[in-house]
Amino acid sequence: MLRNAWLIPLIPAVSFVLILAFGRRLPAKGAEIGIGAIGISFLLSLVAVVQWVGRSEPREAVERHLTWWKLGGVDIGAGIHVDGLTVMMLAVVTFISLLVQVYSTGYMDGDRRYTYFFAALSLFTASMLLLVVADNTLQLMVGWELVGMCSFMLIGHWWEEEANSSAAIKAFLTTRTGDVGLMLGVITLFFAAGQNFNIANLNRLALTGGISHGLLLTGGALLFLGVMGKSAQFPLHVWLPDAMAGPTPVSALIHAATMVVAGVYLVARVYGVFWAGFSIGDGGINLIALIGGITVIIAAALAFVQDDIKKVLAYSTISQLGYMVMALGVGAWTAGVFHLFTHAFFKALLFLGSGSLIHAVHSNNMSEMGGMRKRMPTTFWTFMVGSLALAGIPPLAGFWSKDEIINGASHGYSLFMVVGLVGAFMTAAYMTRAVYLVFFGEYRGHAHHHESPKSMAVPLQVLGVLSVVGGLVGTGLAGSKWRFSNWVRFDIPGASEIVKEHAFNFPVATLSVALGLIGIGIVVGYYLRNMFPRGAAEKSGLVRTGYKVLVNKYYLDNLYIDGVVRSIQYPIARAAYWVNQHVLDGAVNGVGIGARKTAQVVYDVVDQKVIDGAVNGAGFTAEEGGIVLRQTQTGRVQTYAAFLFGASALIAVGLVFFT
């Protein structure tokens, strides 16, 4: 199966076409094709895992490549690169996908675009699998963009409501911002590796010093921009909470198996570049760990003030992704990937659980839930398991991986160990808050509700079991051969330093669990025992300010809309008109003034307003600064075309004379 791993993405891709073509005429409206196809893919992935683990050491990655065409020595084509990371991802993605599809038959029952929904789910999974098996960065990018497109389709599944379609557009544009970096990074590394897209080759060259450090740093930083967009890292995380507008099964899929983990996967896959480019082995602080660490804390803080249960989980995902990125940033490769693995189970569980609640009470808001413990016992128990796993309570899945990350950070990255511990405390606390608001107390809603149907309950139970035992793979309980770090590791010549393992650190583990328990204790005390003073927000100005900042999501959305979008939109629009009017006498002048004004705007917006915490005036400043620049936007195609041809003519002349 390892040599034929290309079948695994192909099957759901075929199922996508089949569902579109025949889905509507089938008795189950296409769901049976989707579930059947993904089921086969899942079984094949399991076979691949078993075969991979069964191989004798040292395991060599299986590589196959199909050349589409070759031009001047540049090989463009598709291929598979199968190693421990690949088979693990294949299994996780197909498994979560299978459960999500089964669950969707219940959740989406009677939806007006039911068939289309399953087709999109199939394509989503197929794209993610294509990305996972990729042996070259070009194919990886194709899968990456397909994943982005499918998420757009699925987030905006109920596009009749404007909020949903704008959430889809926001997700698409925000990730696209990062994708510019990804594309530039791929191009940079393509040339750095001697005009070669192959990933294994890239890793080898990076680790053996075949590529200069400067190029690796540039390429790595550009790739990481893509990761920040896709994996919702600060400050490009803003799309993920809004993506909750999509149907809940989609959220589960996006958060657990596809889409957001693609970024983490990319870092893990081309780790050689990041390791060498950011000198991760040296300790201290580097960009990856820093972004991850910031994300852990700020997202966890945001999770406290949400009322929408899915948004609590969304911020929790961002925070957990921060953990993974941070782990990769501090050199704990196995820990980061392991957290991806365990997180997939309990986050899918939590999302499907929240879907079950939403299905029952017809509201996302926790203020309209409460007391669900008795009415929905299956959901309650599975949700509890998921929350405890997320909070890192032993021996549940989250404990093992989170602890490995914190332990990994304690070797040379003590700052990030502290971040990890604080994050563990906050995670436990906000999950306890959510669980309390949903399941305890009195029911505050109005809808008449009931336990969810079997098609939804069974996936919950399966995931519940896995959230309990999933982490044990990391301990070697099932024989050292099956130990996670044994079969999933970064096996590239010269990478021996990267796969080094740290022994289980008892004091650190105790500390993180203790912090988690304290977090739970404080929140329980606050809600259940009434231990802490209420209404702190009304009494203390400081608390009120903090609360306001959190509710407004650190004003990042305002900054992006008022500061970035407007300040670019108006100046460019104005500049266009102006250039049109004064092309002959003042083109050079205009650009100069425009640049200065834009710089002024950026200064005013970024420097002044953010510090003041009020970005509202930015639109005004931008407008003022942009008076000069408005008018290139004539709306006439031919003006644009003239600019285009003029510019290319200039470039052509330049090329002729200067080369």
Binding site: L71, Q633, R636, Q638
Partner: protein, 99 residues
């Protein structure tokens, strides 16, 4: 074989295409001018392919033709819709995106 003649022909065709795209007011003619430019490129590709004795040039030209067909499909659909809404295909009048 002389490469120059082909390149000259392609250059002239391309220039005619550029002129059409920039100066024509009729949307359909603009689309046709774009086709002229694409085909100028095709001539280049095939000429270079023949000159270097490989098929890569022709393969590319086939790709271009296929893509061009799709592009014209989309373009004509857009122009048709514009015509239905405005009873005119004068592209100077279409400036709803003006800033």
């Amino acid at each position: 074989m002389y490469l120059n003649q082909f390149l000259m022909l392609a250059a002239v065709l391309f220039a005619m295409g550029v002129y059409g795209v920039l100066a024509r007011k009729n949307g359909v003619l603009v689309l046709m001018s774009i086709e002229l430019m694409l085909n100028a490129v095709n001539i280049n590709l095939v000429a270079f392919g023949a000159f270097n004795n490989n098929v890569a040039g022709q393969t590319f030209a086939l790709f271009v033709i296929a893509i061009a067909a799709a592009e014209v499909g989309v373009g004509l659909a857009i122009i048709l819709l514009i015509f239905r809404n405005r009873a005119s295909v004068d592209i100077d009048e279409i400036d709803a995106m003006r800033g």
